[in-house]
């Protein structure tokens, strides 16, 4: 596998003590004067927590912002679906939390595959996020005395999670959306909904624009700016079935990769253990059930493979509470990656339950006996309702059936400390970048990262770029780079529509998803990854010969959008397999069966793999080149995670 020899990745981490780096950076960072800010146009793609907060903040500072989203409204980005909460090192409960502890929990939870300085900064600004959200009118849960309530979450020993019922993501997103709306009203932000970014325009070595498709008219549009902020979320939908929204996709990020931005750690995907299992081939997405259910529910499978009895008729003696058996210290509360792998192991061994046999029980019978049904209803009522609505079963009477599902992707475009990619002027925020969660993300920290990047990091680092870079102020959309990018997008759309083969985009997507799930999912092997890479390449070639896209370009055409996105997912899928192959260790969500301890736990290799793998595109059908950013841990001791 080709690998770059000389280090080309400069993370630009400021010197000094970890605790002082961000302040030191801010002390000397270049500024853009108010009069000059309005001369700069910033293109912000995506309106989730990262994009919405960035666009609102930059608009508030006086930049001219153009904000794009694929949905019909900026309020619908998939950040909205986050349930549990948002972490912040406020230490309101006085239970010993500090910025350092939040930093430490996050870096350890990520299995030591994240950059120290970025994670520390995240913990530092976490408190400001809560202040900002409250000032916007986000209705966080409160105690009777009127102060903010906190709850505990996986991977932490303190209660630092702020929440708004089970709709924290929604409330935070509506906060940013309203702030964005305010800036739209002032005229600083121009909102362009129902636009899909199809390409990045790099002119004279700088990211200077994007090509978008108006999803209603099919019109391709050119937008020029002084910097591009990519805030387009993760790529979990590559697996077809995931907890992501149907429109979540990698296309914008993938176009940037093909224009020179490196893609880091694509194999780091998070598989969430408590989702409602698949019920049939028509299934279009999976629904997450909050992790909090494992506080009172017990996970089990029948001891005998293929036990045909309904759960109520399986006596205690014939049940295997495998998490409690294997991890006596943490029991049902082991981290997400561990719980997911354990469920897969039981189902692979034939002990799965339900008609598909791809599920395990999450049983509340004992908790109901102990606490009463009312107590359980108060704690989890809305989740139980949702389960009943989707499955048609009453979880108060029969155990829930759950199975892991793809939920979040830690990998993403490589960025330095300033959130800038290897393409100058292209910044990546939120889930779309790779920077803060290493190989596994802790609960309640995705919202934190998206908002940290948008509210508190990018306003400084973008200023640094703009003040320190001499950009051609006369560059317009008539520049050749625009024409070339638009032409490429156009050609692709025409090919998709004119092929008129015999397989739909959904059928290709399902096949791709199956390949990724089986081989680049919860447990990976060399053979599996190699076979998957080959199979995906073959599927990709088949795609361009047999794809059938209905309708035309000049109207609203969802299946044309899908087809383009799935073509990109297939290329990404190959890279995911390649990255997983190159990483000869097990860490966080990446579990290589070759690298495990005698009792089946993940075996990390800090000697050879304490780095981020950043892949550079070299051409279609050509192997990408791997660059490595070594991760140096000056402040934390690398230790192995044990939950026994």
């Amino acid at each position: 596998m080709p690998r770059a020899t000389q280090p080309v990745l400069n993370a630009k981490v400021p010197a000094g003590r970890l605790q002082d780096k961000w302040d030191a950076y801010k002390d000397v960072v270049g500024l853009v004067s108010p009069a000059n800010k309005r001369k700069h146009t910033i293109l912000v793609v995506g309106t989730g927590l990262a994009g919405g907060s960035a666009a609102a903040t930059l608009g508030g500072l006086g930049y001219k912002v153009k904000s794009f989203c694929i949905q019909d409204s900026a309020r619908r980005a998939h950040s909205i679906a986050a349930q549990g909460g948002i972490n912040a090192a406020k230490n309101y409960p006085n239970d010993g939390d500090t910025i350092w502890r939040l930093f430490y929990d996050t870096i350890k939870g990520g299995d030591y595959r994240a950059r120290e300085a970025n994670v520390y900064r995240l913990a530092q600004v976490s408190g400001n996020i809560i202040d900002q959200a409250v000032a916007q009118g986000v209705p966080f849960a409160r105690e009777y005395g009127g102060l903010l309530a906190n709850r505990s979450f996986g991977g932490a020993q303190v209660a630092r999670t702020f929440y708004a019922r089970g709709q924290t993501g929604q409330q935070l997103l509506l906060g940013t959306y309203q702030a964005l709306s305010h800036q739209i009203a002032t005229g600083n932000v121009t909102m362009l909904p129902r636009r899909e970014m199809l390409d990045l325009v790099v002119a004279d070595g700088h990211a200077r624009g994007i090509i978008t498709r108006d999803l209603v008219t099919g019109q391709l549009e050119r937008h020029v700016g002084d910097a591009v902020l990519l805030c387009t979320g993760g790529y979990g939908n590559a697996y077809y079935l995931s907890t992501n929204a149907k429109n979540s996709n990698v296309t914008a990020a993938w176009r940037c990769y093909k224009r020179g931005a490196y893609f880091a750690n694509p194999c780091f995907t998070q598989i969430h253990p408590t989702c409602i299992p698949v019920s049939g081939s028509y299934q279009s997405k999976l629904t997450l059930m909050s992790e909090s259910l494992r506080n009172d529910g017990r996970v089990w499978v029948p001891k005998d493979t293929g036990d045909p009895r309904p759960p109520s008729q399986i006596p205690e003696a014939d049940r295997d509470y495998y998490l409690e058996r294997r991890y006596p210290a943490f029991g049902n509360l082991v981290p997400r990656d561990v719980a997911s792998r354990a469920a897969k192991k039981e189902c692979d061994a034939g002990r799965g339950v339900g008609t598909t046999r791809l599920a395990v029980y999450l049983d509340f019978a004992q908790a109901i006996r102990r606490l009463g049904e009312q107590a359980i209803r108060e704690r989890y009522g809305n989740l139980f309702e949702m389960y009943a609505r989707i499955t048609g079963e009453n979880p108060y009477a029969v155990p829930m059936r759950i199975y892991p599902a793809v939920h979040y992707t830690m990998g993403g475009l490589w960025v330095d400390y300033e959130l800038q990619t290897t393409v100058p002027g292209l910044f990546v925020l939120g889930e779309a970048n790779f920077s803060d969660h290493g190989a596994n993300r802790l609960g309640a920290s995705a919202l934190m990262q998206g908002l940290a990047d948008g509210y508190f990091v990018i306003p400084y680092t973008l200023g640094a770029y703009l003040s320190g870079t001499a950009l051609n102020g006369r560059l317009t959309t008539s520049h050749d780079a625009f024409a070339q990018a638009e032409h490429a997008s156009n050609k692709r759309l025409r090919t998709l529509l004119s092929t008129q083969g015999d397989k739909t985009a959904t059928e290709f997507h399902r096949e791709l998803g199956q390949l990724l799930w089986n081989h680049v999912g919860m447990a990976r092997t060399r053979e599996g990854l190699e076979s998957a890479a080959k199979a995906i390449a073959a599927l990709r070639h088949q795609f361009w010969e047999r794809i059938r896209v209905p309708g035309e370009n000049g109207t609203y055409n969802k299946y044309l959008e899908f087809a383009g996105r799935i073509a990109d997912f297939m290329e990404l899928g190959e890279l995911m397999a390649r990255d997983a192959l190159a990483r000869e260790e097990s860490c966080g969500g990446h579990f290589r069966e070759e690298h495990q301890t005698a009792d089946g736990e993940a075996l990390r290799n800090d000697e050879d793999f304490a780095h981020a793998s950043a892949w550079a595109y070299t051409g279609n059908d050509q192997a990408p080149v791997e660059h490595r950013e070594p991760l140096t841990f000056e402040n934390v001791q690398l230790s192995s995670r044990s939950y026994k």
Binding site: T57, P139, A141, P550, Y556
Partner: protein, 250 residues
């Protein structure tokens, strides 16, 4: 085992905003009770694409009832017959084998049809932009606990803030009024000290914008509350009127 069902759909087809529309009959023979209603449309669309026909366009995204993208009239009711459920979480077990279901877009002059079941709800964004926010910029916010908020106020604010902006309230309202949507935001922010400072201007600005968008008046049918996937109470409309009256009498 999942029961197999045959469902007879009558779906509104309209090529574009100005094109004439009509109801077209389709049969989905291999539906089953565990499918969501949108998955039923997915299955229909796959069949249509293979037959060389145009698939039925409908907005959808998260498919877990929170993004507010989806929303169609199912059998004459916004989001279908199951209350407090967005159509993406409506499952076919709510129907019987052999049912005939009319599927139409949300209809309002302020929600022009884009294509088939897809409508343009940007009027909602303009109502929010008229004043549905607290005028802050990033930074300079006081400590989050500096201003206590009673639990009752926070809880009631959350009840209104839960609005997903799907437009079902408008679609179901006999008058095509956007009062519940507008009121939910006015009430949410007015209940909190952070939002109460601008409450009078907000109420006037948002009501004015709602009027300018061409929505109808509220005649207190409360149909909106019945179809709202989040069950937002029409008491919000009372709160909106109070804020508005206060603003005028100020």
């Amino acid at each position: 085992m999942a029961k197999s069902m045959t469902i007879y759909l009558r779906v509104w087809r309209q090529a574009g905003p100005e094109a004439p529309g009509r109801l077209v009959d389709y049969t989905v023979a291999d539906a089953n009770e565990h499918m969501s209603f949108l998955e039923l449309l997915d299955v229909l669309n796959e069949q249509l694409i293979h037959r060389g026909e145009d698939p039925v366009e409908f907005d959808n995204d998260c498919r877990e009832g929170i993004c507010g993208s989806c929303g169609v009239m199912v059998g004459g009711i916004a989001h279908g017959p199951q209350q407090r459920t967005a159509v993406c979480q409506l499952h076919m077990r709510a129907f019987k084998d052999g049912d005939r279901i009319v599927v139409e877009p949300f209809r309002a002059k302020a929600f022009p049809i884009v294509k088939d079941l897809v409508v343009d709800r940007s009027a909602f964004d303009r109502i929010i932009a008229a004043g549905g926010y607290v005028s802050t910029t990033t930074g300079g916010a006081p400590d989050a606990n500096a201003l206590p908020v009673s639990k009752e106020a926070a809880d009631e604010a959350m009840d209104y803030a839960a609005c997903i902006g799907c437009g079902a309230c408008v679609a179901a309202c006999p008058n095509a009024s956007a009062s519940l949507f507008t009121a939910a935001k006015i009430a949410h922010l007015a209940l909190l000290p952070q939002g109460s400072i601008e409450a009078p201007q907000r109420a006037v600005a948002m009501v004015d914008q709602m009027t300018a968008e061409g929505f109808g008046d509220c005649s207190n049918h409360a149909e909106c509350e019945a179809v709202c996937p989040k069950g937002i109470s029409v008491h919000g409309i009372t709160r909106m009127r109070r804020e508005y009256i206060k603003a005028v009498l100020r």
